[in-house]
């Protein structure tokens, strides 16, 4: 049994997420097998790339059912970047496609919202995150702290109370992380955000250990 199963749907920086787990002492495995995933104490849904392609891959491997089953166990689920967006109902990417739908809200483009551009615009670089809540995986991070973002879309949750931190692009505020029941998601990449980001992995370890 592993502390963390990193869900492999063939998209995303699986290697670095795995390295970050190992760095803080979490035993981890990259997997798409139902037994391994459901037995793990926590799962991480990473992801880089296109929303619709990701959903296709997830459905093809029936990972959507497995994720739903895991959600019902109340064990910790972490979503990173595209892995955050996938939990929402719908994304406007490439004319629109449906997500896993566990969290109410939609995924909308940076370009139209922040740059008045119809093209996709990457928000790339280090942005401050301003913490909005206590008692979540961000609890050891400084407020504000700087994290590495690379994304052309962002999440707009219907229930603003689930937002755990916000950031700014061109002075517009957007949601940079959420906590809904046992799901915690980050638009930035904790495993690419130096020591500050690794603190999130350390709190995940603490959470796993305390729930045993």
């Amino acid at each position: 049994m592993y502390d963390v199963a990193i869900i492999n749907f063939e998209m995303g920086n699986l290697y670095s997420v795995n390295s970050a787990c190992k760095k803080v002492g979490l035993s981890s495995i990259i997997s798409n097998e139902e037994n391994i995933i459901l037995e793990s104490k926590a799962i991480i849904l990473p992801g880089v790339g296109s929303f619709s392609q990701a959903m296709q891959n997830i459905k093809k491997k029936k990972l959507d059912d497995i994720l739903l089953k895991f959600f019902k166990t109340k064990k910790p689920i972490v979503g990173i970047c595209l892995g955050m967006q996938l939990f929402f109902e719908r994304s406007e990417e490439l004319g629109g496609s449906d997500g896993l739908g566990l969290i109410e809200g939609e995924v909308i483009p940076n370009g139209k919202t922040f740059f008045k551009q119809n093209n996709d615009i990457l928000n790339i670089g280090w942005n401050s995150i301003f913490l909005k809540k206590e008692n979540n995986l961000l609890k050891y991070c400084a407020n504000p702290s700087q994290m590495y973002f690379i994304h052309s879309f962002f999440c707009n949750p219907k229930n603003k109370k689930i937002i755990t931190s916000t950031s700014k692009i061109n002075n517009n505020v957007f949601c940079s992380s959420i906590n809904y029941r046992n799901i915690e998601c980050f638009q930035f990449h904790p495993e690419k955000s130096g020591i500050e980001g690794l603190k999130i992995y350390s709190s995940l370890k603490e959470k796993i250990n305390s729930s045993q």
């Binding site: 290697y15 670095s16 790339g49 990457l122 670089g125 280090w126 942005n127 690379i150 994304h151 690419k192």
Partner: protein, 280 residues
């Protein structure tokens, strides 16, 4: 104030060694890249660019092992390139721990590859690199790490690669590379007028004033730095002695670089009121 700005050490690799040249030529071996990267990670690098500088000439890339080793201990974005020319090649590099892939030669030889790779991996993963040289007042693109010049004009290529969907562009000024005389300001202005997607500028940074000088002409998303950081580290004796001689170069060119006086922390401290800079 400028948008957020990453300060990015550029690690040029030849046969597992860190190398650095002038105008992309005369590559000198500086030492073990691990030692440099560890130091840059600890002192506030925002990203690392890894470039196998002989790969596209020999049609191979040896970076996978180095990238994996780095990704085990360095929790920063790793942008990797040199000799990558296929979907498979990109997949291998990403599986080894790279976050983003850049290419130059392969994209110029087969521009459709840009669309294919962007469609497959997403624009956030695909970066175009340009190595440009000035001829009779015009800028042209080179391939094979500056070894071969083409008739392709920079203006046209910048727009084409943007249209084909890359997420970011790295522009290297061959004329300024390794000289420590500052980035080409006309080039900076040209890029910022031609494209709206994020871009990294590379080549020539030798003193602090070069950084805010260039910010008057463009708003880059990143500044890549080679010689200024590497040679500074050398004079601080932070890495073991050179495997091959280049002390003459260091001694002769001291005036171009503030060797040992400028490091990542000083650069970021200097820039923190001029752009959005991550401080650690």
């Amino acid at each position: 104030m400028s948008k957020n700005l990453r300060i990015i050490p550029k690690i040029d690799i030849k046969n597992f060694n860190l190398v650095k040249g002038v105008h992309l030529e005369g590559l000198r071996v500086l030492g073990d890249p691990k030692v440099f990267i560890k130091h840059y990670y600890d002192s506030g690098a925002d990203e690392i660019i890894y470039h196998d500088v002989v790969a596209s000439l020999y049609g191979r890339n040896q970076l996978e092992k180095l990238v994996s080793r780095t990704a085990n201990n360095v929790f920063l974005p790793l942008t990797v390139g040199g000799g990558i020319s296929s979907i498979d090649g990109i997949q291998n590099m990403l599986a080894s721990g790279a976050d983003r892939i850049f290419a130059n030669t392969a994209f110029i030889k087969n521009p459709k590859l840009i669309n294919e790779t962007v469609k497959y991996f997403g624009s956030s993963t695909i970066v175009a690199s340009i190595e440009t040289i000035k001829k009779n007042g015009d800028y042209y693109c080179s391939i094979d790490f500056g070894r071969e010049e083409t008739q392709l004009k920079l203006d046209e290529w910048l727009v084409e690669i943007q249209d084909r969907g890359v997420g970011e562009i790295i522009v290297t000024s061959i004329d300024q590379d390794g000289t420590g005389r500052g980035f080409d300001l006309k080039l900076a202005e040209k890029i910022s007028k031609k494209i709206y997607i994020p871009f990294i500028i590379n080549g020539g940074f030798g003193e602090l004033s070069h950084f805010d000088e260039v910010l008057n002409y463009c708003e880059p998303s990143g500044i890549a730095i080679g010689s200024l950081l590497h040679y500074g580290l050398k004079t601080n004796n932070l890495f073991s002695d050179l495997e091959e001689g280049n002390k003459d170069f260091i001694n002769k060119n001291k005036k171009y670089f503030n060797f040992g006086k400028i490091n990542l922390k000083k650069i970021k401290n200097y820039l923190k009121n001029k752009a959005q800079i991550r401080m650690i």
